[in-house]
């Protein structure tokens, strides 16, 4: 397994644009978070109780797109260049290969996610303080939102890896992944039946997963913070299982 990890890490870090993509995860997350938080103006503090930590972390919604690209490149690049055959010749155990890929993807995404979340929160705290609003970083709910956002990005990476393993082609994989991310919110916005809407919010990987960022009004959410993240974990696990099943079943 160690040698598998080493091999996968070497492949990933030499991937064209790998470090740029990691940098982009941090950059787009922070920039959107700062733009959204900078737009908060509360003239009447009594009538305005925004979920400030959630707003500060809203950049994750764009950051996840970059994470998905990174995750798809981990496997589909090998299929387009034919490298995958060499990989399986050297390491015939496909579970080992996929597990190694998942691990070497998770670590850089987790590091980039931590940086992105930390910088977003600190920058938002600074911006909000100028508008007379406070963002208590030490509070339990804020910590949950911060840790949850990092886990969210990691799970998004694993979900994308699973889908890309099943779909193989980079463009089609990204299409499926982003379709999964974006079509749920669009359909949810158009459905007027409250029961169906609630169900969709509970099963959508992004809407349910992002529930972990909520710090206020938890009672009115369609799904609780940790159970929402568990839904996303279920999606990621399912996608990886399908990907693994196809790896076993199909020729490379």
């Amino acid at each position: 397994m160690r040698s598998a990890l080493h091999a996968e890490w070497t492949k990933l870090r030499t991937e064209v644009g790998f470090s740029w993509l990691l940098l982009a995860v941090v950059a787009v997350t922070v920039v959107l978070g700062v733009v959204v938080t900078g737009a908060v103006h509360c003239t009447a503090p009594a009538g305005c109780v925004p979920d400030l930590p959630k707003l500060s972390l809203s950049g994750v919604q764009v950051g996840q797109v970059v994470v998905a690209v990174l995750a798809v490149l981990v496997i589909s690049g090998e299929y387009s260049s034919g490298m995958i055959r060499t990989t399986f010749t050297a390491m015939p155990r496909r579970l080992t290969v996929l597990a190694a890929k998942a691990v070497v993807l998770t670590l850089p995404v987790a590091v980039a996610g931590c940086l992105a979340v930390l910088i977003s929160l600190l920058a938002s705290r600074f911006l909000l303080a100028r508008n007379g609003l406070s963002l208590p970083l030490g509070e339990g709910a804020v910590l949950r939102a911060a840790v949850g956002s990092v886990l969210y990005l990691v799970l998004i990476g694993l979900l994308s890896l699973g889908i890309a393993t099943a779909v193989r082609d980079a463009a089609a994989s990204i299409g499926v992944v982003l379709g999964l991310f974006f079509l749920f919110p669009i359909v949810i916005g158009m459905v007027s039946d409250p029961v169906l809407r609630r169900h969709l919010e509970q099963i959508s990987p992004t809407a349910a997963g992002l529930a972990v960022q909520a710090t206020t009004g938890l009672g009115s959410l369609p799904i609780g913070p940790w159970s929402g993240l568990a839904v996303l974990a279920g999606w990621a696990g399912g996608a990886l299982a399908v990907g693994l099943g196809l790896l076993w079943w199909r020729d490379a």
Partner: protein, 531 residues
């Protein structure tokens, strides 16, 4: 001795054609022989239909249930003379008028109140003042008392002075200023054939013309009289985060008229009070009232005489509600458009293509034409299949689909297909620039879909949302807007309220501008770089 003449070698083969038609044909052959691209295009059609069906299935509309009814009634709407959805709810005190004639009144007061009702359950409190900017009272000549029929009216408003309005969409300003007993307004409306002319005056002797309008096909006998109505108040608390919250409810306006003079009406005819309504819902707490005290008429009413807007008084769904699936088709077509060029780079086929046709700009143009054409046909097919099915499902769920004029309907359908086709060509251009398919698909989907999600999900402030939908390629979706904004109707015209900041064609032009920019850069790089 004669030297034998040597004929230079000429190939027996006919000269190869390298016209643009050949290029188109080769690109078409490439497209139709790659299974993945054809499958992707079919998926685009199916996804457009299926996601549309899903959203339509999940959209119900009902009013009530009211006391004595077990279930709510389906939503209804009114179709105006122009063929568009309208709101036509007001209290009409009228007399028949035959042939040419005129009506003149003095309006001494226009007041409004928010009645006590279910939405304002502080029973015991009296009605509170609530004159809306577009509360209306004045004189009207209308084809008949059927909702949606042709009309012209001269009216006073809560905050926009005297207006002459006709056939729901026409609105001309007259005298400014509010009506009060110390500043009454004289209003006059005359009919001459099909032409109706409105006048206003502050003293009843010096009249000025506001405007005139032609109501084609007006019958000989019409209904003329005074009216009052007042649109629902909506108090939207817009928040720069998490969207907006609003409260609202019906309001009621009261106009007091005297010095009523009519011509063209039967001598000695009395007044008839008719409450027009286009919603099954009883106006909660609001009542139509009419009192006559000598020559003074007091009329109260609730509702509006206006074109329908998204989220307005008329409880309909615009046609673009049936196009939820277009986003799914968009994503599939972006993937196909990207692969159409990145696969050439991956397989090295691009070198063959460029050897066969060294003029690179023409290769790019041929690819764009073939891809755009295929994407347009596929998207149009998806939309044309999806819309009737979705309309049927929406109606079965009690929704009222706002009819728009046929031109607007066609613009929405063809425009949606055009946006999807241009998006695929945009992806092609970005594909030539970046060459790496994963990045291309992610960037293109993000710039097309993300702005709309961010703008309508209430994450951003209204200003930021409008800015996003003005400058990003997502502005092109404005072409789906079937119900325009009207200055004479107050509504939430923000992206969260269902309105794009740009007019349909301007939004589409922004999208085309971006695509031209991307194609220009792609052309430049294609010529400069090695393939």
């Amino acid at each position: 001795m004669t030297t034998p003449t040597i004929t230079p070698y000429r190939s027996e083969l006919p000269a190869g054609r390298d016209g643009f038609g050949q290029l188109l044909r080769s690109e078409w052959t490439k497209f139709r022989t790659v299974r993945g691209w054809v499958v992707g295009t079919v998926i685009a059609v199916l996804a457009t239909v299926l996601i549309g069906v899903l959203t339509a299935k999940g959209s119900m509309c009902s009013v009530g249930p009211f006391p004595g009814q077990p279930v709510g009634l389906p939503c209804t709407g009114t179709i105006g003379v122009g063929g568009g959805a309208v709101s036509d709810t007001f209290n009409f005190v009228h007399q028949p008028m035959t042939g040419n004639g005129s009506i003149t009144v003095r309006l001494t007061s226009l007041t409004g109140e928010i009645p006590v009702g279910p939405l304002r359950p502080d029973a015991g409190a009296n009605e509170r003042p609530g004159l809306q900017p577009w509360s209306k009272a004045g004189i009207i000549i209308k084809q008949n008392t059927t909702e949606g029929s042709a009309y012209a009216a001269v009216l006073a408003t809560g905050a926009h002075g005297i207006r002459m309005q006709s056939d729901f969409t026409q609105d001309t300003a007259g005298l400014a200023g509010a009506v009060s007993p110390t500043a009454p307004r004289w209003l006059r409306l005359t009919r001459s054939g099909d032409t109706l002319t409105g006048y206003d005056s502050t003293d009843g002797t010096h009249w000025s013309t506001i405007g005139s309008t032609r109501l084609a096909g007006l019958s000989a006998t019409v209904q003329a009289g005074v009216f009052a109505t007042s649109p629902a108040y909506v108090h939207v608390v817009s928040q720069s985060f998490g969207g907006s919250s609003g409260t609202g409810g019906p309001t009621q306006a009261t106009g007091v008229f005297d010095h009523v003079e009519l011509s063209g009406t039967p001598p000695g005819a009395g007044w008839t009070d008719t409450g027009l309504t286009d919603v099954a819902e009883p106006q909660m707490g609001a009542q139509n009232q009419f009192h006559q005290n000598g020559g003074e008429l007091t009329v109260s009413g609730s509702g509006d005489i206006a074109p329908a807007v998204v989220g307005g008084t008329a409880a309909g769904s615009p046609i673009e509600t049936t196009l939820g699936g277009a986003f799914a088709g968009l994503i599939a077509l972006i993937v196909v458009g990207t692969m159409f060029v990145t696969a050439e780079y991956r397989r090295g086929l691009i070198r063959t293509s460029l050897v066969a046709s060294p003029r690179r700009g023409r290769v790019l143009a041929a690819k764009g034409v073939v891809l755009g054409g295929i994407a347009f046909v596929a998207a149009l097919l998806g939309v044309v299949i999806a819309v009737p099915i979705d309309e049927h499902l929406l109606r079965a769920n009690g929704n009222f689909i706002d009819p728009a004029p046929t031109v607007a309907d066609a613009r929405v359908l063809i425009g949606t297909a055009a946006v999807l086709a241009v998006a695929a060509v945009f992806a092609l251009g970005v594909g030539v620039i970046l060459r790496r398919s994963a990045g291309v698909v992610a960037v293109v989907i993000a710039v097309f879909v993300l702005p709309r999600i961010l703008a309508t999900a209430g994450v951003l402030s209204t200003g930021a949302s409008e800015w996003l939908l003005r400058v990003t390629p997502a502005a092109g979706f404005a072409i789906q807007q079937s119900l325009p904004q009207y200055s004479q109707v107050d509504a939430d015209y923000s992206p969260a309220g269902g309105y794009y900041p740009l007019p349909p064609l301007a939004g589409f032009a922004v999208l085309c501008g971006w695509t031209a920019l991307v194609l220009g850069l792609a052309f430049h790089l294609l010529r400069r770089r090695d393939a």
